[in-house]
């Protein structure tokens, strides 16, 4: 349709507001309280207009366009109101712009400038109010607040943390945190959304203050290097140095992060400025790591690898790819292992997190990835969320789930032993015994089939194995399930009823399901549940593993796995081997025809089957289970090369350390948890010293004899496209233009695939699996009477190599802790914050007690980010027989008060 604004004809669409149309047409209408994400508010009155045929002034942010509407923004009445709004806001004399961080990026400034108001004509009495600088990352200046309400709206309706609201009334009205606590003492999680939407300088980033004016910075878009949501970040860079982060606003509705960030994306990129950065290759001489030249280091690596290969065979070398580097770089490492070394011993940390998913779903559905998309959360009728503390580990997606529940009426079932945040808004929160997941999952299915709620048509048409599967359900009676899992029969029934009778139900899961000695069984049980209820291949349904790392999905897609090439093409398949060999210019016979070793089995084999390891962007010395054992094992290696950006705990054990590039210094693509491949372009100039990771791999390859090993992202991506059918239609231009593409994307005109298994499964028919119940490998006993689980917290990321080098994150949580239930704490006479020892059969650590009823009585929870109190000193390396993934989520432990003299068995404080 068409409307006119000040006589100008403008195209408009039904559903748009006058303000939106004006902005699209470059017509100036100021607004302080409207924001595309927080919506219309009508509070500031700055956007009022006059409309022919309508009486009075109308707020254009809330005025829906109608065909032929004639709008005027240039009347005396409109200008008078705009002037009055500015005059009233400036009247108290507290808007000081001179050193304000928002200077040059302030909508009030813009309005005053356009109206020519330099000095207010109204002078009212007022005293300046104190600033709130109590939080790590945000400064609040109530003097500058224009009461637009965007921050309140954003906090309550977008990110849904519900920290902010207005208090008091009239001229006393102000924004408060919780019940008017200082922000640093409130429930604020420092996601920074309030700062992002604030139109003025009332909310600014503390680390940004004084470091650069908005007009001095360049905006560079990157993909967040932390979790698998893959939020798009606009980094503000001055003189090549990172200053602060905003969520990308362009096309925000199409992006996975929906214009939001979490505290890690917001404040966690500061590690880019850490002085700890590795800038020179290091070679161990006389027991110490000493700086060396690139040629020295690369020559040494090539020489030693050639030697070991010659002496012990290619299978004696293990290659660790990285869930943090680009797809191109993972592909390079994969090619290096297979074509240059000649081994299938290539793996990465997916082994530790979603190996069960990949194996379990590949077997049952034919594809091991998330079947639906994150944007569909609002389209489900019921969501079953299990083994994922989503608001801590995939925080922005956790926010989308909250939106789905609060705004779209989605019913949430949370099955988690702990009272995670999402449990508080769940329709049903079930607290099962750690490790009993097969029982309750199959138990739900028992009830569903008994009640006849299963979708027999769907099963007959699309699945196989029904008879055998159905018989296996007999074991999982509600009584049996209650015995095994502790879940009362009525609650199991309710969960089954809610899930099965919903029109569309989705399952979201993460480590609670996968990190188990029967992780593959857990995943298969989830697949069974989704299949018999007909929830696969449909919008709002799906079985949705939340991949943890920024590019762990990509690393798997690129074949950095011992059993497949890129695109999950089997190494045991001769045709496939020939295809890759031909492209790589090597003899197919020279390539390994057997499935290689995993990260976990490579560690087991150190000193025996494995003599050398080339580790890129991984930190097994903190991430792997049973660290005391890992340490012993790694020491048995003849040769260890670590390629990283910081001197990690693993790097410190290496024979050669090679400095690589951070995510912000390289160009390449990353695949997030919903199979969306997104392009990240280099945004910062790296310091002198480090090399691109792909270059390093190519240099080593060339020195070993592979003269034409590709080293640029473009050349590597070209190979990926040629050899990987699911990535074939993806190009850099398309990724940038179309906000990423979800694979499979087989051709350049293919739009990408949001939902998998439509019509039929990737393997044809879905396989229903009978599953026998197996308990966890180690249950509590007299000596170790408590149940220990490990995992993540919001403020830090995995081994902490990046997050602990970000001052705000470090300030928020400087050290580790153990969650202990108040009843256990009082029994053990342990107080909040007291130092305690936690012991298992594998090791001992000392850490601080966090007394909370979030964790169940008799259970403990320790985050694994803190090397000096490493949870993985305690965890058990019991592996799933198929996936080889460790059972991080259950083992037996004991808590004692810390001995006053310290602890001999505990790891020493990590050298800084």
């Amino acid at each position: 349709m068409e409307i006119t604004i000040d006589g100008r004809t403008c195209k408009a669409r039904p559903g748009q507001t006058v303000l939106q149309v004006a902005r699209e047409n470059g017509i100036y209408i100021p607004s302080l309280c409207y924001h595309p994400r927080t919506g219309r508010a009508g509070r500031c009155r700055a956007c009022v207009v006059e409309v022919e045929g309508m009486q009075g002034l109308k707020e254009s942010c809330a005025l829906d366009v109608k065909e032929g509407m004639a709008v005027r923004t240039d009347t005396r009445a409109v200008t008078a109101v705009r002037r009055m709004v500015v005059e009233l806001l400036l009247a108290d004399g507290q808007h000081q712009c001179i050193a304000c961080q928002a200077n040059g990026h302030c909508e009030l400034q813009d309005m005053a400038y356009r109206l020519g108001i330099e000095r207010p004509s109204l002078r009212l009495a007022s005293e300046p109010e104190p600033l709130d600088e109590s939080s790590e990352g945000i400064v609040r200046d109530p003097n500058k607040c224009v009461q637009c309400g965007r921050c309140v709206n954003a906090c309550n309706n977008t990110v849904m943390h519900e920290v902010l609201d207005f208090a008091w009334r009239s001229g006393h009205a102000k924004v408060v945190c919780d019940d008017d606590k200082p922000m640093g003492e409130s429930s604020c999680v420092q996601c920074g959304e309030c700062v992002q939407v604030c139109p003025v300088g009332a909310l600014v980033f503390k680390p940004a203050k004084g470091r650069g004016r908005w007009w001095e910075t360049e905006k560079k878009t990157v993909i967040c290097p932390y979790c698998g949501v893959g939020c798009s970040i606009d980094m503000h860079v001055k003189d090549g140095r990172y200053l602060w982060a905003m969520a990308t606003e362009d096309n925000w509705e199409k992006l996975p992060g929906q214009g939001m960030l979490c505290v890690k994306g917001r404040f966690g990129l500061e590690f880019l400025n850490s002085p700890d950065r590795l800038t020179s290759p290091l070679i161990r001489r006389n027991g110490n790591l000493e700086p060396a030249s690139w040629d020295e280091a690369l020559d040494l690596v090539a020489k030693r690898l050639k030697e070991i290969k010659g002496k012990h065979g290619p299978g004696a070398i293990g290659c660790f790819a990285s869930a943090k580097v680009t797809n191109e770089e993972n592909f390079a490492m994969m090619r290096f292992a297979r074509a240059v070394v000649g081994t299938n011993n290539v793996d990465h940390c997916a082994r530790l997190c979603h190996a069960s998913t990949v194996a379990g779903l590949a077997t049952t559905l034919g594809s091991g990835a998330m079947t639906n998309t994150m944007q569909e959360a609002a389209k489900s009728e019921v969501i079953l969320l299990t083994g994922t503390n989503t608001t801590w580990c995939h925080p922005v997606f956790g926010g989308l789930i909250k939106q789905a529940v609060r705004k779209h009426g989605v019913k949430l079932i949370v099955v988690d032993p702990r009272e995670i945040d999402l449990a508080k808004i769940a329709h049903l929160h079930i607290r099962q015994k750690n490790g009993s997941d097969v029982a309750w999952l199959m138990g739900m299915q028992h009830v569903i089939v008994r009640e006849g709620w299963h979708k027999l048509d769907y099963i007959n048409e699309r699945c196989e194995g029904w008879e055998e599967y159905r018989k296996s359900l007999e074991f999982y009676t509600p009584e049996k399930v209650e015995e095994l899992s502790g879940i009362p029969k009525e609650r199991l029934y309710e969960a089954a009823r809610l899930f099965a009778t919903a029109k569309r139900a989705a399952i979201y899961f993460s480590m609670g399901i996968t990190q188990s000695s029967h992780g593959v069984d857990n995943v298969k049980a989830c697949a069974n549940l989704a299949m018999i209820t007909g929830n696969l291949g449909v919008e709002g349904g799906g079985i949705n593993p939340l991949r943890g790392q920024s590019n762990v999905q990509g690393a798997c897609d690129m074949g950095a796995l011992p059993n497949v090439f890129s695109g999950y093409q089997a190494v045991t398949d001769e045709t496939v081997r020939r295809k890759f060999a031909a492209r790589w210019g090597v003899k197919p016979e020279a390539m390994d025809a057997k499935v290689g070793l995993t990260v976990t089995t490579m560690i087991e084999g150190c000193g025996e089957s494995i003599k050398a390891a080339y580790i890129m962007g991984e930190n097994p010395m903190v991430s792997d289970p049973n660290l005391n054992h890992v340490e012993t094992q790694l020491k048995k290696l003849d040769f260890l090369v670590v390629q990283d950006i910081f001197p990690t705990e693993t790097a410190r054990m290496a024979d050669v350390v090679l400095p690589g590039m951070t995510f912000a210094e390289k160009t390449g693509c990353y695949t997030n948890t919903e199979r969306r491949v997104q392009l990240g372009r280099a945004a910062l100039t790296p310091p002198p010293g480090p090399k691109q990771d792909s270059e390093i791999i190519a240099e080593i390859a060339r020195r070993i004899g592979a003269a034409d090993f590709p080293s640029t992202p473009e050349s590597l991506f070209a190979e990926i496209r040629d050899l990987t059918p699911s990535y074939h239609g993806i190009t850099y231009e398309r990724m940038e233009k179309e906000c990423g593409l979800r694979w499979p994307c087989p051709s350049e005109d293919h739009p990408g695939t949001p939902i998998l298994h439509i019509g039929k499964f990737a393997r044809g028919k879905g396989l229903l699996s009978p599953i026998a119940y197996r308990p966890p490998a180690e249950e509590p006993d007299d000596q170790y009477p408590m149940r220990l689980s490990t995992g993540r917290i919001l403020q830090h990321y995995h081994t902490g190599s990046m997050s602990r080098r970000a001052p705000v994150l470090d300030g928020l949580v400087p050290h580790g802790m153990v969650e202990i239930h108040p009843n256990d704490a009082s029994r053990l006479k342990v107080k909040e914050g007291e130092k305690v020892r936690v012991l298992t059969r594998r090791g001992t650590i000392e850490t601080q007690a966090l007394v909370t009823d979030r964790v169940a009585e008799g259970s403990l929870f320790i985050p694994f980010h803190f090397a000096e109190a490493a949870a993985n000193r305690l965890t058990i390396d019991a592996l799933d027989p198929v996936a080889k993934i460790p059972e991080y989520k259950v083992c037996a432990a004991r808590v004692e008060k810390a001995a006053p003299g310290g602890c001999d068995d505990c790891p020493k404080e990590a050298a800084s």
Partner: protein, 582 residues
């Protein structure tokens, strides 16, 4: 720590509402009432927040929004003196001074022994019986210096005396105030004996559309202040609506000068209940709410008793008059906010939030309470409905003047000998109403006929004024709520203007820039002028602000003061210039 019994009571209340969050205001009120120091401390507020299912910030935002919620301890007896315009015209200032002297504290202070806290508050809805003091939920009216002394003496002994107010009223129509002086008028047997609930039976025999048509035909105009035809409003509910429909009776009665709805609720609650039941049936609502201002808590008790009686006799509940029609009423108390008299702010408040008016569209009839179609009607409007059903719309139209039909309650306050509520047909001459109120005390200077939000009239201007919606507009004012405030020549208009803007600034919800900042700016400027420190520029800026605030605010509250202030200054300019020139 909130006690187990309080927790249980909150649960019981929460169960009455379709959404738990609506119990937030009642919960805070109950916790405050149960607390020795008459306030809810932060820890308890956090517990309430969790119980009701809202964030800590939201609960705090609500507690601090409403005047009646205390955030600090308050003495054993909280003496809240009405100092709005009708009360001041009747001598409230002297009562405040007396209390200050007798108690030895200033306004806003508590006596050292913790016995008394003295506050001044806005209009308590007792304009006919002022000066009035609210003490811990009870009203003490017709106060004099002597009564003040006796009251304090009694309180010091720990006794709250039981004094009945001495109020005046009159009724020519004998419809709305028919049972005003009947003994036991609040009891259902009195109401039924007088023919009550027969209108409901008749309504239930018709189709809902027929009831709507009858009320539409009667041209019953909304008595809350806007004068919008109720039947037309009822027809705004979308035709293919599948959501629940809610009927809300607006009993917030906060407009200064207005104390009429109270007469019906306090003395003839069943008239309102029957009107609501008929209206609920007509619009397809199964659940209605009476949103009554928190200060009227004793009257809310009367309403709840009457609702219980009506339920017992199946005039409310699941099966009205055995016809299988369901309609019930929840009595919901506000907590001290004039703005909650505006229908969208009222709805926000009922949802357990700050009383913020909403943007329109959408209008409540399309998306109101909980996003569902909602009809909000004033007490007096709904109380006219039984008559229409009993006697027909034509009979209703025989009362009043063309397009201004039916009986109207006029509350007369200020400088008259018998302030009170008088029922006349719409269109009655003002002079007749003033005569009923005992005539003017002293020389008449000005009258505000429709509550504080309408332009003032000089004595000359109101000589031939008839009190109906259209006549008032022709005279350059509005009938509004029919709250007639009479002023003699002892009244200084600049004082009146200042007191007016102080009221609106105090009540401003604070959402929009013009009202939040502008109302307070005008207070400061007028204070300078009234205090003799004003400049020509200050008065110019007041006029500039009034002129620009007009029409620019989110809700009608901006016009409610901007227009009357402009008119006061224009008609009495000399009085404003004088302090400046000297």
């Amino acid at each position: 720590m909130i006690s187990a019994s309080l927790r249980k009571r909150i649960e019981t209340v929460a169960a009455r509402y379709p959404r738990r969050e609506s119990a937030l205001l009642p919960a805070i009120a109950m916790a405050q009432h149960a607390s020795k120091e008459h306030f809810v401390p932060r820890e308890d507020l956090a517990e309430i927040a969790k119980l009701v299912g809202v964030s800590a910030a939201r609960a705090y935002g609500v507690q601090t929004y409403y005047t009646m919620f205390n955030t600090k301890p308050v003495g054993k007896y909280h003496l809240q003196v009405d100092t709005n315009i009708p009360a001041t015209l009747a001598g409230a200032g002297g009562i405040v001074e007396r209390l200050q002297a007798v108690l030895g504290v200033g306004v806003g202070e508590t006596t050292p022994d913790g016995m008394f806290t003295l506050s001044t508050v806005e209009d308590l809805g007792s304009c006919g019986t002022v000066p009035a003091i609210q003490i811990n939920g009870r009203y003490y009216e017709n106060m004099t210096a002597e009564k003040t002394d006796r009251l304090v003496e009694s309180l010091r002994k720990g006794e709250m005396p039981d004094w009945k107010p001495n109020s005046h009223f009159g009724s020519q129509c004998r419809i709305l105030l028919r049972r005003r002086d009947t003994p036991d008028s609040t009891l259902i047997r009195t109401y039924v004996k007088d023919g009550g609930y027969e209108a409901l039976r008749r309504a239930l025999e018709k189709k809902p559309e027929e009831v709507v048509a009858e009320v539409k035909n009667a041209l019953l105009r909304g008595r809350g202040g806007a004068g919008f035809p109720a039947g037309v409003k009822w027809g705004f509910i979308p035709k293919n609506n599948t959501k629940p429909v809610y009927l809300i009776c607006n009993a917030d009665e906060g407009e200064p000068g207005t104390f009429k709805d109270r007469q019906i609720m306090e003395f003839d609650p069943h008239l309102l209940i029957e009107g609501m039941a008929i209206a609920g049936y007509a619009v397809g609502s199964k659940l209605g709410f009476i949103y009554i201002r928190g200060e009227f808590s004793p009257i809310a008790d009367i309403l709840e008793k009457a609702v219980a009686e009506a339920r017992k006799q199946r005039f409310l509940g699941k099966d009205l008059c055995g016809k299988g029609i369901a309609f019930d009423i929840v009595v919901h108390r506000g907590a001290g906010s004039y703005v909650c008299g505006e229908e969208t702010a009222l709805i926000e408040s009922l949802e357990g939030k700050r009383g913020n008016p909403r943007l329109r569209p959408p209008f409540p009839a399309v998306a109101g309470l909980y996003g569902c179609p909602t009809i909000v009607n004033n007490v007096e409007t709904l109380s006219c409905v039984p008559y229409i059903l009993l006697n027909g719309s034509e009979a209703f139209k025989r009362i009043g003047t063309p397009h201004n039909y039916g009986p109207k309650l006029f509350g007369v306050s200020g400088h008259v000998h018998r302030p009170g509520v008088y029922e006349y047909p719409l269109g009655v001459p003002l002079s007749e109403v003033l005569a009923a109120a005992g005539g003017v005390k002293g020389k008449l200077k000005a009258v505000i006929v429709g509550g504080l939000s309408v332009p003032i009239l000089t004595a000359e201007e109101c000589a031939d004024l008839k009190l109906d919606y259209d006549s008032c507009i022709r005279h350059g004012t509005m009938l509004g709520s029919g709250g007639v405030m009479v002023m003699n020549d002892t009244v200084r208009i600049p004082w009146l203007a200042l007191r007016t803007i102080e009221f609106y600034a105090h009540e401003s919800c604070g959402q929009c820039t013009p009202c939040r900042e502008g109302s307070n700016a005008i207070v400061e400027l007028l204070r300078r002028i009234v205090g003799g420190r004003g400049t020509v520029r200050d008065l110019e800026q007041v006029l500039w602000l009034c002129g620009t605030i007009k029409g620019s605010t989110l809700c009608p509250a901006g016009n409610a003061y901007a227009i009357p202030l402009e008119v006061m200054i224009r008609k009495f300019r000399g009085e404003f210039d004088a302090p400046i020139r000297s």
